[in-house]
Every structure is written in structure tokens, then in C-alpha cells.
Amino acid sequence: MRPRADLLIRKARILDPGEGRDEIADLLVEKGRLVRIGASLDAPGAEMHDAEGLWLMPGLVETCAHLPEPGHHRNGTIASETRAAARGGVTHLCAMPDTDPVIDTAAVVRLIRERAMRAGFARVLPLGALTPGLEGKLLAEMQTLREAGCIGASNGGRPVRDTLVLKRCLEYAATFDLPVMLRPRDGALAAGGCAHDGAVATRLGLAAVPAVAETLDLARILQLVAATGVRAHFHQLSSGASLRLLRQAKADGLPVTADVSIHHLLLDERAVEQFNSLCHIDPPLRGEADRQALLEGVADGTLDAICSQHLPLSESAKLAPFPDSSAGISGIETLLPLVLHLVEQESLPLMRALDAVTRAPARCLGVDAGHLETGRKASLCLIDPNARGIPREEWLSAGRNSPWLQRELPGRIRMTVCEGKVTWLSD
């Protein structure tokens, strides 16, 4: 970690999708603040970076990261995972509340913020629990958690089964205009499942999580959003049917946003062939038609953000027969390379793709980030779009649970600056 720097980045292609900016220019950071973007800037004394041929863009914003502290030390630390984030060009990451203990007291929020601050690699934005212990029974102290630093309320991966409790949670959050971040999942329909209910799971004899487990709960929550007026963000939508519901809700003017994981945009149910536990993820990878629908959803903006659904796991978590292996992919380091891979495949236009990992997720989370604005602390990353690399060669996350570890992917992050501090620098 270096002190707040004076940086002059010259002749970069500056891509700021939130502002619609795409130009070759210089960018000057002084005392950590972005002071100017323009042609032929001069700043004696500033550290100069010749960035010809490189792209300069806002730091990435991750909407859905599972940090291993407190409680899951075998899977890494806040320091190891935020360092991995910095390597991936990520400057802001939203941390899910399903830690152990869960984020349902101010003390846990403080612990997470303090460790993140001490590590200094990225801005961690914790979500507070919607219900104590994520048990789905009572109201958590949402406003207290917000005052301690939470940016929203969430029940993590666990559904609130009792619809009356859920309605009251949303009413209470709406009282204080606190956004809720929900992962739609009907507990009964999803119970025991580990794969999409399609031809592959049928042939492999894997218990299924049907797509309707997601759409049914999404429909229920949307009705409650309409009734309570709460601002809601949906995590990790996985099916075309969910997308249609969301599209209608947005057309009706409901205050809703959503993200999808990069893995669901690139992989389908066939990825679990041969019982590949590295592709065991929740929600499961669905059919090819779902994947195509999700891509269209990102392209037209119905799905606002693309997340990495970062979940580092220890070695033993994946060394088990598929149904007994833990679900999750350590994804924060491959988020940008995989987004560039989608662009390379012409699945998404460049600016929309970059918007989906910068300004759009910041808007979903209600935080001021993901854009290059003068006068503010600089959060940005500098990437070489033409370099290609194999992620495992300099992998930093403590979890090596990624199906992308040995794939050659485009894009190399040369520098990351988070709130004025250089958090990653590489040749």
C-alpha cells in the first residue's frame, strides 16, 4: 500500500461508461483526488505513467462478494480477498451478511470495516442482516446497522419463508428508505438441489433446483415491493423467466434493480458434466436458452449489473462428490477479464459491458462510485486490453475454486487506485 499519490496518467483511452466518455486523454490525480482529465496535462513532481494503448476506467464495483471474515478463516481473510479484488481492478465491493456471526450487530460491522481499512486494498460495503441470524423470523436493527456503516439490508442466501415477516421487513426498510438486497429463492423448491433441472442433471442423477424456485420467490417479492415501495435490488438472477418478471416490474415503474453473475453469462448446465464441482454454484448454471436471455437482459439494461459472486472456499470444500461439495466460485479476480471475454465474443457492446461492472452496480447499491468525476477521490483502474494471461499464474484469492484458473483470458490490470491510493501495480 502506497501513500496517496500524485499521478499523471498520459495518453490513455479513457472509458467512463457512466458519463459516456471514450477518448484518448491524460488524467491527473493530486493528493488522491482526480483533479483533471484533458489533453497534454503537465504536473511536475507527479509520478508519470505512459499509458499509450492502455484503457483507463473507473474502479470496478462488485455487488455480491462473500468475505471469509468473521468466521470462515479457512477460506481466507478480508485482507487476502480485498487484495485479490485490487488485482482484479475492483475498488468497491459489497459484502454479504452471511458471515459467522452474521452481520446483525454493529460490532460485526465495525470489525469488518476495521479489517478492511487496515488491509487498505478496497472499500468494503457491508450489507446488514434483514433478520437476526438470517433466521427469517424477526426484524434486525437495520437502522443501527446502517449507522454503523451498512449500505443496505439483506438476508444473504437464505430466503425469508414467512411472507408476513418479509412484508414487515420491507415496510420497515422503506420507512427509512433503506435499500434491500434480496436473493430470490423458494426454500422448499430449492431444498437439497445442486444443479439445474434439465437434461444434464437428469442424466447425472443430481437433485435439481428448478428455475421456478427463483421465479416464484421473485414474483412474491415484487408484489411486496409494489405494496411497500421499498427500493429493492435482486442478486444473482439465473433464468429467462426471472428476467421477464423483472422487465415487467421495471416497466411498471417499480424501484428495482438486479445483477447476474458473470459465470451465468458464460456457462450453462453442461459445465457440470463429469461432475465438475468447480462449476457447482448457487443458483445453478441453467440452460443455454436461459444464458442467452440473461445476455439479452444485460444488453438492454434490464439486468443492471454483472457481479462475480465471489465466494472463496478452502481446498476440501470442493474435494468431494458433486452434491457434497460446497457451492461457489472465487471470482473477483476474473470479473474484468471475463467481461472483456464477453465483449471479445461480441456478446455485449463494450460500453454497456463496462457500465455493468462500474456505474450500474454503484447505482444499484446506492453508492457514489464507478465513475470518473473530478474533485473526488480517485478510484480507477488502468488495464492493458491486449495482454492475455492465465489467472492461476498470479492468483491472490485464498480460494482457488475457479473453473477459469487455467483459461487464457484477455485483459491485464496494470494499476488500481482506490480512493486515491494505489492498491495494485503490475508491469
Binding site: T202, G205, Q274, F275, S277, P321, D324, S326, R392
Partner: protein, 363 residues
């Protein structure tokens, strides 16, 4: 292809592409599960059997070799000395994570008739945390210099996991994994069908009952399609039919009467009591009324149709007593053939591996 230490499964698999020269940090703690490569876990480089994990992925020639080899073993049981020395000096471990005395006994008998030493280990689901139980158990067993594991496990894919990551040096035979496959059962069923029908060309086969949870049905479907049966049908209520099962190459019937029309083979599956508890069926008696194999219904089938069942039978649930004991039933013969088929699979895996060792360059 070399598969090295089980503690570092990442080295196996022969990943294509760049990066190999850079992997110096093999001892890096986190290095683990690599992507399963497209290579066939079950066959050697020269196409011989080395593990028997699933019917899926095996060529017709291997299935026929199993049937032919089994035929040569059938009369071993009729001799006064019921042993052949093919596996003398080899150690076979019956590794049963799910209780099943019947299946285990047939494997034990098959191994002993091949002169192998047999160790039976029953490990019912223990209280240890996720994943550890299986991996740790296997590492302990490695020390016993076993040559072959016969594995039954409640999780689909467990034998694949063992063969790929845990003990690549040991031949693995799947004795039933979750709802995935039960390939030796399917092969003894194929043996039975070939014995009574002479072959598979032109045959219509119906599989009746709980397809959703049946590993036997999945293996049978693959085997029948590979061996060239004309049509494979599955018959059951929609709560017991898996999604997109048609993609496995079957026609789906929900009406037993229609589904049995002109079939040459009718296979009734065992119905587990738990299906009622999990609201998949209302009652055994309603199931029998709708899907039980009775003499009257069997008249829809061809007059020379045979009736099969993987056992143990629930009389009056999936099959009527008079059908199970009737002239068209070949259920008891299935058991006899089961030992010969298992002997065939064991001896083929072992000789496949021995040729592999003698041919493979080291390193």
C-alpha cells in the same frame, strides 16, 4: 497418461493449452481440483476398461465384451471347485457408504471366485464434516495397497470423484451412486435380456415406476441404447419422471396400459417407502392400482415378453405376486448372472490396467 499423488490431483488430467511450463509451485497449498478434462476415466489409451463407473461413455464393443466374458464365467458356479485364479494376490475392498448386504455379497462372491482377497468396509454416513469423511477414509485405505475398490455411495458422482482425485491408482467399480448409475446391475440385466432374447435388435423395453430416483433405470437406458434396442420406454407418474428424460433416448408414457403395448421386456423398479413420505405418491395401493405390473396388464406386451426386476421385490406394490413368480418372470436368473457379470467387470478392469502399466512410459 500419468495420474500422480492423490493429495495433488491438479497434476492429473493433462490440461491442454499454455501454462504448463510455469507451474513450479506445485506445493502451493491451494492448488486443487482441476477442470475434469475430456479424457475418458474409464478406458485406457488403447480402449480397454480400467474403471467401471458408468455405462454412459462406454462403446458398444466394451459392453459386448463384458457380456461375452461373463458368459465364460457362468459355469464356474456349477463346478465343484468354484474358483479361477485371475485375481490371485489382488486385494479388493468393498467400500459401502450406503448399506446393501445383497449387492455387497454378490461382489464379494464374484471376487472370491476370481481368487482375490476381499475386505468389506461399511461406512454409513458419519458425523464428520462435509467431504472429509470420504477423502480421509480413502487416504487411509491407500496404505493397505488395495488394487480395486467397489464403491457404493449415496452421492451421485462419488465413484468418479474417487477414481479421478482420491485414488487414481486403484481400479474403481461403481456399485451404485446416488441417483446416477448402477452399471453392474444394468449389465446383468443386459445379460439376462440377451440370454432370453438372443440379442437387442428390434427389442422394445419398458422400465416402470420410480425413474426419478433410479440409478438402475439410468444405466439400463444407456445400455439398451448403446446395444441397439429398438425402443426404450419409461412409464410412471410425472412426480417420478425426471425433467427432460427424453434427452436420454427414451419415450415417455404415463399410462401403463399404453406403455406396455407390444414390449418384449418389462422391467419393474423397486418402489421405496420414502416416496410416500415426501409427497411424491399418495399410497402404495394407488400406485399398484395404476402402475403395478399385473397379469392382465402384461397381456398388452408381446406373448413371449419377459418380466424383470432388480430386486428386492415389493409384492403387491410394483409387481403382483403371480407375475413375479409366473412363467414370464426371469427375476431369479438375474441374480445368478449377476455374479458372472461382476467377475467379468473385475477381471477386465484388472487386465486393462496391467496392459496399461506395461505400455505406459514413466513420467
Amino acid at each position: 497418461m500419468r495420474r500422480s499423488l492423490p493429495s495433488r490431483p491438479d497434476d492429473g488430467g493433462g490440461q491442454a493449452g499454455a501454462g504448463h511450463g510455469l507451474e513450479k509451485n506445485g506445493h502451493n497449498k491451494g492448488v486443487h481440483v482441476s477442470e475434469p478434462s475430456a479424457d475418458n476415466l474409464q478406458l485406457t489409451g488403447t480402449g480397454r476398461l480400467r474403471n467401471f463407473l458408468s455405462i454412459e461413455g462406454l462403446p458398444r464393443s466394451i459392453l459386448e465384451e463384458i457380456l461375452d466374458t461373463a458368459a465364460s464365467f457362468v459355469d464356474v458356479g456349477d463346478r465343484s471347485i468354484k474358483k479361477v485364479p485371475l485375481l490371485r494376490g489382488k486385494t479388493l475392498v468393498n467400500l459401502f457408504f450406503e448399506a446393501s448386504t445383497r449387492t455387497r455379497n454378490t461382489f464379494e462372491l464374484a471376487a472370491k471366485r476370481l481368487s482375490a482377497d476381499v475386505l468389506n468396509i461399511d461406512i454409513t454416513r458419519s458425523a464428520t464434516s462435509k467431504g472429509e469423511s470420504l477423502t480421509d477414509t480413502l487416504r487411509n485405505l491407500e496404505a493397505m495397497a488395495s488394487d480395486m475398490f467397489v464403491v457404493r455411495h449415496q452421492d451421485s458422482g462419488a465413484p468418479h470423484y474417487i477414481a479421478r482425485y482420491a485414488t487414481p491408482e486403484v481400479a474403481v467399480i461403481n456399485a451404485g451412486d446416488g441417483c446416477h448409475e448402477h452399471p453392474t446391475q444394468a449389465m446383468l440385466d443386459m445379460y439376462t435380456i440377451r440370454h432370453y432374447k438372443g440379442g437387442f435388435e428390434g427389442l422394445r423395453v419398458a422400465i416402470i415406476g420410480d425413474i426419478l430416483h433410479s440409478r438402475v433405470a439410468r444405466s439400463q437406458i444407456h445400455a439398451l441404447n448403446i446395444l441397439g434396442a429398438k425402443e426404450v420406454r419409461v412409464i410412471g407418474p410425472r412426480t417420478l419422471l425426471p425433467v427432460d428424460v427424453e434427452a436420454m433416448g427414451v419415450s415417455v408414457y404415463t399410462d401403463l396400459h399404453q406403455g406396455l403395448q407390444d414390449v418384449d421386456v418389462a422391467i419393474a423398479l423397486r418402489l421405496q417407502r420414502e416416496r410416500m413420505d415426501s409427497a411424491l405418491l399418495p399410497s402404495e395401493s394407488e400406485f399398484f392400482n395404476l402402475y403395478g405390473l399385473t397379469g392382465e396388464r402384461l397381456r398388452q406386451a408381446r406373448p413371449d415378453a419377459i418380466v424383470m426386476h432388480p430386486g428386492p421385490i415389493n409384492r403387491g406394490v410394483e409387481i403382483a405376486s403371480d407375475v413375479a413368480d409366473g412363467p414370464q418372470s426371469v427375476i431369479l436368473h438375474q441374480v445368478t448372472f449377476g455374479i458372472a457379470v461382476r467377475m467379468a467387470v473385475m477381471s477386465m478392469c484388472m487386465s486393462g490396467r496391467e496392459t496399461e502399466e506395461s505400455h505406459a512410459p514413466q513420467g
